[in-house]
């Protein structure tokens, strides 16, 4: 028996024949008997069910009714939150003093609690959750309290996700992208977010641990739904150009280099007021020395993380941070950082794969179009 933690869905993974691997301190399914390629394609064409219960969920509640929780949390992240409506979700970054990224996260404004205190619902990465929660608790000590939720999180992703979930929870059919709904499902309380990490329409459903397997089985009974492992989750997100924390972004990359400026609106760029803002605003002003870009290797050989990138004149200009095979794209794809003068789309570069220079081009992301819900 491993010492790793198990999510509430672990027994289901085993029953479904998953290959289990250690991931962020948990025993997680990397693939099911279907295999990574078929799981990837199934999610793009139908709907995939993912166990993402290892991620951190928490509710941040203002210490009293006078605290503006959005304003308080803006100190930690560069997102604009003061205008975030109830039940709406925003992607943002937990910032470090050096202007780099402690984690990326989803922030949703909940309704006030029974004492009139404002609340936010946070979902953070599994590998960072303990550090994140400690950081948030320290930064907002006396201003807000953080309650870590021990709940399962089930993602249903793909073009058929909405029609399947709506068979059980009709109101999700028209739920806006980047919003949550609270649902009483036969006495079980569900928090259903319309968002995801595959580039497809879909949902992340927060549910009590002891109800998780039953609910997952309810969805898996549909022919359109297959269980999908971490392997396909990675190729799905890479195809649509989404960052994986600890690889494409970390405590050595800032939001300007990471090409995540879209997550910092005009007011926050002007006012700053978040941890590391001095450095980020200076980077915006002066421009970064390097930038995260898409990379398309020529031929069929994938270029993996840490592959060195060279200019055609033989100078090292960067490194791949995520790379592999894009099943929907139909060839190898990658992202990584290159020096700023080599970031134009179409720039020819060489990737050093097993000691051999292999030609590649800087390319626009996403590699496969995102397919989010638009009413």
């Amino acid at each position: 028996m491993s010492d790793n933690l198990k999510t509430a869905l672990f027994d289901l993974h085993v029953k479904l024949g998953a290959k289990i691997v250690p991931f962020a301190g948990y025993d997680m399914p990397v693939q099911y008997p279907l295999g990574v390629l078929a799981e990837h394609n199934h999610t793009r064409q139908n709907a995939g069910l993912f166990d993402v219960s290892h991620m951190g969920q928490a509710v941040l509640t203002a210490a009293n009714a006078d605290v503006n929780i959005a304003e308080a949390f803006e100190k930690l992240v560069p997102a604009s939150l003061i205008n975030l409506a109830e039940n709406r979700t925003r992607y943002s970054l937990l910032m470090a003093d050096n202007g780099c990224i402690l984690d990326d996260l989803m922030i949703t404004r909940l309704g006030e609690d029974e004492n009139g205190c404002q609340r936010l619902y946070l979902v953070v990465n599994a590998g960072c959750k303990h550090v994140d929660f400690e950081h948030i608790g320290q930064q907002l000590s006396g201003i807000a309290t953080l309650e870590i939720l021990d709940r399962a999180l089930i993602a249903l992703q793909g073009p058929k996700a909405a029609q399947i979930l709506a068979l059980h929870v009709p109101q999700v059919a028209t739920q806006p992208f980047m919003s949550i709904s609270h649902v009483d499902f036969d006495g079980t309380d569900l928090v259903i977010a319309r968002c995801g990490y595959t580039g497809e329409d879909g949902f992340e459903i927060s549910i009590a641990n002891d109800q998780a397997i039953e609910f997952a089985n309810l969805l898996l009974e549909h022919d359109e739904v297959e269980a999908i492992g971490l392997g396909a989750r990675d190729s799905l997100r890479l195809e649509v150009g989404l960052c994986l924390y600890g690889h494409d972004i970390d405590t050595t990359t800032n939001p300007v280099e990471a090409d995540l400026l879209w997550a910092i609106n005009k007011r926050r760029r002007q006012e700053g007021g978040f941890i590391g803002a001095d450095i980020v605003l200076q980077q915006i002003e002066q421009g970064a020395n390097r930038k995260r870009v898409g990379i398309l290797p020529e031929g069929r050989a994938p270029a993996r993380e840490h592959t060195e990138i060279y200019s055609k004149s033989g100078q090292k200009i960067g490194e791949i941070t995520s790379g592999g095979f894009g099943p929907t794209f139909g060839g190898p794809i990658a992202m990584g950082y290159v020096d700023i003068e080599f970031t134009s789309i179409g720039t020819e570069v060489d990737l050093m794969v097993r000691g051999k220079a292999r030609p590649a081009k800087i390319a626009a992301m996403p590699f496969v179009p995102q397919n989010y819900y638009k009413p």
Binding site: Q31, L37, A38, G231, R300, P302, R304, F325, P327
Partner: protein, 122 residues
């Protein structure tokens, strides 16, 4: 033809002094979907235990070593455009290279089919 395997799941199927080299059915199952195979050029010579190929699956890259020494007389060109052939028939149509053995005694110490099946069952 005699079938030999290494503990690391490569095979050498030997007919006279010609060895057909590839990865076992068990190996392709462990690798998952194969998306690229880097093969050596015809005419290259290898010592026993040399790296002869790299298999890229959707998950990772894995090196493949030869169980016997000799010269590459044929490479499976099918794998260039259809690397998934390795998954479809690792020990049949999905072979990697054919080697003209420089030492037919190289098979000593390799596992026969029964021993290999026992090895992967452990």
């Amino acid at each position: 033809m005699s079938k030999f395997y290494t503990e690391d799941h490569e095979y050498a199927f030997i007919d006279g002094d010609i060895a057909t080299i590839g990865v076992s059915h068990h190996a392709q199952d462990q690798l998952g979907d194969v998306v690229f195979v880097e093969l050596p050029e015809k005419g290259t010579t290898f010592e026993k235990g040399d790296e002869i190929a790299v298999v890229e699956s959707v998950k990772a890259a894995s090196e493949v070593y030869t169980a016997v020494a000799g010269e590459v007389i044929e490479v499976n060109s099918l794998l260039e455009d259809a690397p998934e052939t390795v998954n479809a028939g690792a020990e049949t149509v999905g072979w990697f290279i054919k080697i003209k053995m420089s030492n037919t005694a190289d098979t000593e110490g390799l596992l026969d089919e029964t021993a290999y099946q026992t090895h992967i069952a452990d």
